[in-house]
């Protein structure tokens, strides 16, 4: 794997300190962590919008910053596209001229993607003569992505580009980011604190915690790590690799099988034996201490409690080992007490919904499916 981004920086700003070193290859690398973990600072450092106290940053082999050798390439010469959380379009320019803004400065570089190609890729054709003020949040963000692409960057940074959008708009943009990743062949660093986005998009994941790299590696490995589940309570979930076992034409359900046990999902148009990756959100897992009867949910897995972490006002994250696979369940602390849950206790996990993606590795479903 060739290196597209190599960063090793140190920065102190009052109470906040950042000490981050990692390397990223081609494809989409997710910078993942809760707010305040330093994700945006890392983006600013790579783009040149902030300076570290010490460190080195190199992109596709070119050193952009080396405090020891006194190298600091200014922002406008770094050729790094940035898509910010808010679109930051120029309010006085039409969509067409916003798209063309960076292109004007990239003149002379013939490589990269054509204007029409970007307009097609992002579905911007009908917006070209509009003003940014008249765009929806999702449209504005697509224009911002197109504008960054047309500046012919060698690396694209996306700083929670979906955070300011509602679920519908997110679903509208995600496919475009996937196309970008797969068709434009541009390395992307994608900041997010949403597991579902990261699981769907990333090849490599870098987990940041309080300004330090807590984990780095392939998406499936990192997202599977149990301690990650504990640190990302609100978005926690388990990622399971399953095999399609059979589809029952009568009920319209497909049975998946894996180490964790068997799960029924709505009909999956996949041949038997196909590998799929699914995600079980912790908030959609219930626990019972006895085999449940008379329950509408049909996916019940046997296991035992591994650990219990309290978080937030009244919530608790319970990790369950189901035949060697870790699941997470989000309960109230009152429930934990009432059920007398403790490590080692045998439980039944009731799975209410599953997010899945037929494509398998590197992606997970757009939204959880109630089952």
């Amino acid at each position: 794997m060739s290196t597209t981004l190599d960063i090793d920086v140190l920065l102190n700003r009052g109470a906040f300190s950042l000490e981050v070193a990692f390397a990223a290859g081609p494809g989409l690398t997710a910078l993942f962590g809760r707010s305040g973990s330093g994700k945006t600072t890392v983006i600013d450092l790579i783009a040149g919008l902030a300076r570290p106290d010490r460190g080195r940053i190199a992109v596709t082999g070119e050193t952009l910053l080396d405090t020891e050798r006194g190298i600091a390439v200014p922002v406008h010469r770094r050729r790094i596209g940035v898509v910010f959380q808010q679109a930051r379009l120029m309010p006085h320019l039409s969509v067409r001229r916003n798209l063309g803004y960076g292109r004007a400065f990239a003149r002379g570089r013939s490589d990269g993607i054509a204007f029409e190609g970007v307009v097609d890729l992002l579905g911007l054709g009908h917006l070209l003569e509009r003003r940014p003020a008249g765009l929806s949040g999702g449209e504005a963000q697509r224009v911002a992505i197109g504008r960054a692409l047309l500046s012919r960057p060698r690396l694209l940074l996306m700083d929670e580009p979906l955070a300011a959008l509602d679920e519908g708009r997110k679903a509208e943009i995600l496919p475009y980011i996937e196309r970008l990743r797969d068709e434009a062949g541009l390395p992307i660093v994608y900041v997010s604190h949403a597991v579902s986005e990261v699981a769907r998009l990333a090849r490599t994941v870098v987990v940041l915690e309080a300004g330090r790299v807590a984990a780095v590696g392939a998406a499936d490995t990192v997202l599977r790590q149990a301690d990650l589940l504990a640190t990302q309570e609100a978005e926690a979930g388990a990622i399971l690799d399953m095999i399609v076992e059979e589809t029952d034409s009568e009920t319209g359900l497909t049975r998946l099988s894996g180490r964790v046990g068997r799960l029924w999902v709505p009909r999956l148009l996949r041949s038997i034996g196909t590998a799929v990756r699914i995600r079980v959100p912790a908030r959609d897992v219930l626990l019972a201490t006895q085999a449940p009867v008379g329950l509408s949910a049909r996916n019940i897995l046997e296991g035992h409690v591994v650990s219990i972490h309290a978080f937030g006002e009244a919530a608790a994250m319970v990790q369950i080992d189901c035949h060697g696979v870790l699941l997470a369940a989000r309960l109230t602390r009152a429930s934990v007490r009432d059920l007398a849950l403790a490590p080692g206790r045998a439980v039944y996990a009731v799975v209410k919904s599953i997010a899945f993606d037929p494509q398998g590795v590197g992606t997970a479903g757009p939204a959880p499916v109630e089952i």
């Binding site: 919008l49 922002v75 406008h76 930051r88 309010p91 803004y101 960076g102 990239a106 003003r131 960054a148």
Partner: protein, 230 residues
């Protein structure tokens, strides 16, 4: 009563010329100082700020006298400038200089506020798209600050049309050369039977000021629409 005497026409024409020259000549320095005050991080920023605002609080006659001391024919700079043929004292150019100095704080203030209101995150975005700092200024900062820049120019123009104290101290009150509208009104009030003329010029003065304000309001609105903020 709208029948003006030739002298009155001359005063109006001179006032317009002085105000226009004063405003146009202040634009670039005004923008530069506004940019420095809005964005600069340097020692002596407070001093520069104070210096720019000084004409606003000094008695105009003091400003005029200081101009006379420095730009008069035997003044500190005046003597040297006279060598190369630039003379301010008792010329309409001197009136323009006095008006420019008096209007400068108003112009800089409006420009500075509008530059400070420009979202710096847009400038950052422009830089990541490859725009060097000068290009960021010309394509983002300047167009977005344009309503304030325009307002500053109009304020300076209106101030120049009404400037009296510094002008009359510096370049006196010579009909046809330095007698602007306010000076002419002042002269007319000093002679018997001048009341009618003074009233005529006063009405003209009010009309000109109102027109300037209306035009600026109109332009500001059109700009706001174009910037997508209105």
């Amino acid at each position: 009563m709208i029948a003006l005497t030739p002298d009155e026409w001359t005063a109006i024409g001179l006032s317009l010329r002085v105000a226009a020259v004063a405003t146009l000549a202040s634009l670039i320095p005004g923008l530069f100082v506004a940019m420095l005050l809005a964005r600069g991080r340097f020692h002596g920023r407070a001093l520069l700020d104070g210096l720019v605002h000084l004409p606003l609080i000094l008695p105009p006659v003091v400003t005029g006298y200081l101009l006379l001391l420095s730009f008069g024919r035997r003044g500190t700079f005046g003597a040297a400038l006279a060598e190369v043929g630039i003379v301010f004292s008792f010329r309409w150019t001197g009136a323009a200089l006095a008006c420019a100095i008096m209007g400068f704080p108003l112009m800089v203030r409006a420009m500075r506020l509008s530059i400070e209101a420009v979202d710096r995150r847009l400038e950052q975005a422009a830089a990541t798209l490859g725009a060097r700092p000068s290009a960021v200024f010309l394509t983002v900062t300047l167009p977005l600050a344009m309503p304030g820049i325009l307002a500053g120019a109009v304020l300076a123009f209106a101030k120049a049309m009404g400037e009296f104290g510094a002008t009359i101290t510096f370049v006196s009150n010579i009909p046809g050369e330095t007698q602007t509208l306010p000076s002419a009104i002042y002269s007319l009030t000093q002679v018997p039977g001048g009341e009618a003329g003074a009233l005529r010029l006063t009405l003209i003065s009010v009309a000109l000021s109102m027109t300037a304000l209306l035009v600026s309001e109109l332009l500001a609105r059109r700009l706001a629409r174009r910037l997508g903020t209105g």
